[in-house]
């Protein structure tokens, strides 16, 4: 099971965190501090796995961003790397050449995509197309609601 997902940049600034196991807020910030320290200090040629508190952290760097997932001791590390890649591809498809700024200004979108990919710390969907379709469908629901609201607003204005 994936216990948590952390996304941080090279400066150690956190861009996304998702917790599937119970960690209090205090523990969360401690974990983040500890792990970003470990991961950022590892050289580029080293393996992508870090053993940490009886668990394993699988991380991968994409440009200036580090995607880390913490898994159980007997989970498949190589597969976790593929899950990370899967997520990155989804982000890339959604944002069209994703960059850090996209994740900053549209952090909620990054969460929505992650929520279609993982649930309860397990993989939910292997089809990129399905994920894209589901996110788009929900986005359009939001869009419609917003249009209706502005339409209503206009009507109210006209009536006044």
């Amino acid at each position: 099971m994936i216990h948590f997902v952390i996304l941080n940049n090279r400066q150690g600034k956190v861009r996304l965190t998702k917790w599937y196991s119970t960690y209090s807020q205090k523990e969360r910030s401690k974990v983040i501090r500890e792990l970003t320290g470990i991961i950022l200090s590892r050289g580029p040629k080293l393996c992508n796995f870090v053993e940490w508190r009886g668990l394993k952290v699988v991380y991968k760097r994409y440009a200036g961003l580090y995607f880390s997932m913490c898994i159980d001791q007997d989970d498949n590390e190589l597969e976790t790397l593929d899950i990370i890649h899967h997520y990155v591809e989804m982000l890339d498809r959604y944002f069209l050449n994703v960059c850090e700024l996209d994740l900053i200004y549209n952090f909620h979108k990054a969460y929505y995509i992650l929520d279609e990919l993982l649930l309860a710390g397990e993989l939910q969907e292997s089809s990129r197309r399905t994920i894209a379709r589901l996110v788009a469908a929900q986005d359009s629901l939001v869009e419609t609601a917003r249009e209706q609201a502005s339409l209503l607003g206009d009507l109210v204005k006209q009536a006044m």
Binding site: N76, E79, F107, S127, L134, L141
Partner: protein, 877 residues
């Protein structure tokens, strides 16, 4: 409308925060935003609630407190619109965790949303439930999730399946309800549903034996077929990763098959073919393929034995191990750890490669490889492998040395074929990484050295050589100092030369030099310095020509700021100066330390201060030099914090002597025996210093056989008595200080004391110069209160002036001191001072009295201070 809440948009806030140059500036912006959001919350502003929550999430991610926004999540979730719900649920998952009580309030909304007509809203609710539900919520909402497992929309079914996983992880009892719907999911074609369904089944198998049996019987075949289909499926762009169709599904199927096949030959048989196919046909040039192979190997290793498949699996691991990609090597090492229980021979074949991995630049790989090497070592290969590891120790990273050293030491101890090899290897480790060696390890080394009597000379010379180059390694210095102290004569006389040794010429003063160095080196810690002092004391007798020089060094330490060292040097100095006659007996070689006992002790629940001979030798002179037994207790207490305390070997010796079981008793009981057996025994016994033997256990013949005078022994025993042995305390109390005993002029006939009180008198305190006896009486009708008459007797030839007695008691006692009869104490027992004390014991009947005392007086206008603790009060006071 509130002017604040309408303020900035999310995008503007993020931009403002990003524009901050300093952390203080950022805090300012966040504070302002938070204030605005709080204001909006207070006004119950509906229009911008979702925007405010989005802002809060961003602020939360920066690490600022956002608890005040938790209720906003609930309000948004309760709204009827999808956009509000979407952001509300996101906030819920981000800002709350399952332990917050607020979460309970959301159960109702979740229930409604799980029954919503809009499948996306159902999806949101499932997602939130799956990510943060607590055990209570799991119980409340399990029926909804169970129903949704059969929902028409596949995307809802897959979410419900993962939700079910969270539910059974929280409440395993609920597993049964999900068995049937989960089995149904395995027949699906939709990959998302299949993946989540397989995962759910895997978790159900872990939670319930019934589920495992059910799936094993009903689903194994179907799963094998599904795996076959997906493995043989033609190119499917939707699921393709690196030329493989849906590796995620592959892996989950393999994982479930592993669970089903484990411990069941029939189920294992069913999957053999497909496993062989996956193991041979999967492309291994991309990560996805390797991930599948890795999972497949693990499944092959776990299910019931099939020789052919295992060979295939081990070969795959061999290929992995020689891969250039660190990730692949890492998982290969990981897998070999599991394979070693299945086929140790096959793993041994890769030993050379694994050993190379120990030296990898990657800490993760090194750690894995070291664990593996540790498992690979046996009696037959321990020598070459240990050599490799020790060679590597020289060049390894500082942060890896701790792990590595611990493993090497453990290997040496576990597999050493002979003592000389053990000693050689340990010396190498100590010279390379002595600072990383744990105390137990070098303690054990000393025990081994002590037992290898034919190697004493060899060892001490080897240590001497090692010390020339590795003086920075603390534990090497300690072992060397101990050995030079014990076997110094063998060092200079080249006793017991082995053929393999080069002769060395060490003069007596060289040996003293090296110990002097250990004392003076500023990085040496207290234990090392204390051990060095003892070594010097021992050498002072072994090397008569250096005796004066040694005394000089000891004298230099008399002014040491560390009390322990100061005390030792003063004591040792007086031994050298005043007690020539007993010195050589005092510093005789330690008796051989019993290995079995030492190991047993270590295994047992010993306090962290593991006992060793060195500990014993540390404490030994204390016991001898200290003029009285009572302060000895304090001393020994003192020594506990630095020196390793009780000596097993000594304990053993005592055990032999007394022929009784070792049970807790006080060290002074040793003293009793000692006086009988002669000083060298005394020495050993004192070195025991603890494992308190009940003195009453000592066989009577020992006591009766004391030649010269029985009373001093009795009195000493008196002192030693723990309060529980008050029966013994009735024996006549007479005291001859131990110093006298050692010097051989025992005197002071016992003074029978019986004042007729209900409680026996005790000698509360006795030093070479002073004795205090307590007489007790109880005022009628007040059992809590005890009157004590303290009698002070001067045992020295000098008059004490300005005599002051002070006492302190723990909180449950109350103490009242009357004025003393005088403040001048005449010499040599020609009179005494009496003083009355009144103690009230609020815990009467539960706790016995205990008291700490301090006596100050002047001899020829020089201040003297004595301290002690009295715990030998009769019971029931």
């Amino acid at each position: 409308m509130n002017p604040f809440s309408s303020g900035t948009r999310l995008r503007d806030m993020i931009r403002a925060i990003r524009a901050c140059k300093t952390a203080a500036e950022e805090r300012g912006v966040v504070r302002k935003e938070c204030a605005a959001i709080r204001a909006a919350i207070n006004e119950n502003d509906n229009d911008y609630r979702h925007r405010n929550l989005a802002k809060l999430m961003f602020i939360h991610m920066l690490g600022y407190p956002t608890h005040f926004g938790q209720m906003e999540c609930l309000k948004l979730i309760a709204s009827s619109e999808f956009p509000e719900k979407r952001i509300g649920y996101l906030g819920l998952m981000l800002l709350l965790d399952e332990r917050q009580e607020v979460l309970m309030l959301v159960t109702n909304s979740l229930k409604q949303d799980l029954n919503h007509s809009n499948q996306y809203i159902v999806g949101l609710a499932l997602c939130a439930l799956g990510n943060i539900c607590s055990a209570e919520m799991a119980r409340d909402l399990a029926p909804e999730v169970e129903r949704l497992l059969q929902f028409r929309d596949p995307n809802t079914r897959k979410k419900a399946a993962l939700c079910a996983i969270r539910i059974i992880r929280k409440v395993p009892d609920l597993a049964e309800n999900f068995i049937n719907p989960a089995a149904a999911l395995l027949k699906e074609k939709h990959h998302g549903v299949l993946i989540t369904g397989v995962q759910l089944c895997t978790d159900l198998c872990k939670a319930s034996v019934d589920a495992l049996e059910y799936f094993r019987k009903k689903c194994t075949e179907g799963l094998v077929k599904t795996l076959k289909d997906v493995a043989n499926s033609p190119y499917a762009p939707e699921y393709d990763i690196a030329g493989i169709t849906d590796p995620f599904l592959h892996i989950r199927l393999l994982k479930l098959l592993r669970v089903l096949g484990q411990g069941d030959a029939d189920a294992s048989d069913l999957m053999n073919d497909i496993l062989a196919q996956v193991a041979t046909k999967t492309e291994s040039n991309k990560n996805a393929g390797n991930a599948i192979l890795y999972e497949c190997v693990e499944t092959i290793m776990s299910i019931e034995d099939n020789g052919g498949l295992r060979v295939l699996a081990i070969n795959i691991l061999g290929r992995f191990l020689s891969n250039r990609d660190n990730n692949i090597r890492y998982v290969a090492l990981n897998m070999l750890m599991k394979a070693i229980t299945v086929d140790a021979q096959a793993v041994q074949r890769h030993r050379a490669t694994i050993l190379e991995c120990v030296k990898d630049s990657d800490a993760s790989i090194r750690k894995r490889a070291l664990e593996l090497v540790y498992l690979l070592i046996n009696e037959s290969n321990v020598k070459p492998l240990t050599k490799e590891l020790i060679d590597y120790l020289e060049v390894s990273d500082q942060e890896f040395k701790g792990d590595l050293t611990a493993k090497i030491c453990s290997l040496i101890a576990k597999f050493s074929p002979e003592k000389i090899w053990y000693i050689d290897q340990m010396l190498k480790v100590l010279s390379e990484a002595g600072n990383f060696v744990k105390d137990e390890v070098w303690h054990a080394l000393i025990v081994v050295i002590s037992n290898a009597s034919d190697l004493h000379g060899y060892t001490v010379r080897a240590l001497y050589r090692a010390l020339q180059t590795s003086v920075e390694q603390e534990s090497l210095v300690r072992v060397a100092v101990w050995c030079i102290g014990e076997y110094g004569d063998m060092l200079i006389k080249n006793v017991g030369m082995l053929d393999i040794e080069d002769p060395i010429t060490v003069t007596e003063s060289d040996a003293v030099d090296i110990i002097e160095l250990a004392i003076k080196r500023h990085t040496s810690d207290l234990t090392t310095k204390a051990m060095s002092l003892i070594a010097l004391l021992k050498l002072s007798s072994r090397f008569p020509p250096c005796s004066e020089r040694i005394q000089d060094i000891i004298v230099q330490n008399r002014g040491n700021l560390v009390l322990e060292l100061q005390q030792r040097s003063i004591e040792f100095n007086s031994i050298i100066q005043k007690h020539q006659n007993i010195r050589s007996a005092l510093v005789e070689r330690m008796p051989v330390l019993d290995e079995a006992t030492f190991i047993g002790r270590r295994a047992g629940s010993m306090p962290p201060t593991v006992s060793t001979s060195s500990g014993a030798s540390l404490n030994l002179p204390n016991g001898v030099a200290k003029p009285s037994a009572a302060p000895l207790v304090d001393l020994l207490d003192l020594s506990l914090d630095d020196a390793p305390a009780p000596s097993s070997s000594g304990g053993d010796f005592l055990q032999d002597l007394l022929g009784v079981d070792l049970s807790p008793a006080s060290n002074q009981s040793g003293t009793n025996q000692a006086s009988k057996a002669g000083t060298d025994v005394l020495l050993d016994l004192l070195s025991i210093e603890t494992p308190p033997v009940q003195s009453s256990l000592s066989p009577p013949d020992v006591l009766s056989s004391i030649q010269d005078n029985k009373s001093p022994v009795a009195s000493l025993e008196e002192l030693a008595l723990p309060s529980s042995l008050s029966g013994q305390a009735t024996t006549p109390v007479g005291a001859s200080p131990m110093m006298d005993l050692l010097d051989g002029f025992v005197s002071n006939p016992p003074k029978p004391e019986n004042n007729g009180s209900v409680y026996p008198s005790v000698v509360a305190f006795e030093s070479g110069a002073l004795r205090i006896t307590f007489d007790f009486s109880k005022p009628p009708g007040n059992p809590q209160t005890t009157s004590i008459q303290a009698t002070f007797t001067n045992l020295s030839p000098n008059v004490y002036t300005d005599f002051i007695f002070q006492a302190a008691v723990p909180k449950f006692l109350q103490l009242h001191l009357d004025p003393a009869s005088s403040n001048t104490l005449p010499a040599t027992g020609n009179g005494s001072i009496t003083q009355n004390l009144r103690v009230t014991n609020s815990q009467h009947g539960k706790k016995s009295l205990v008291m700490r005392i301090r006596i100050a007086y002047k001899i020829n206008n020089k201040d003297v201070l004595e301290e002690g603790q009295i715990s030998n009060f009769p019971r029931g006071l």
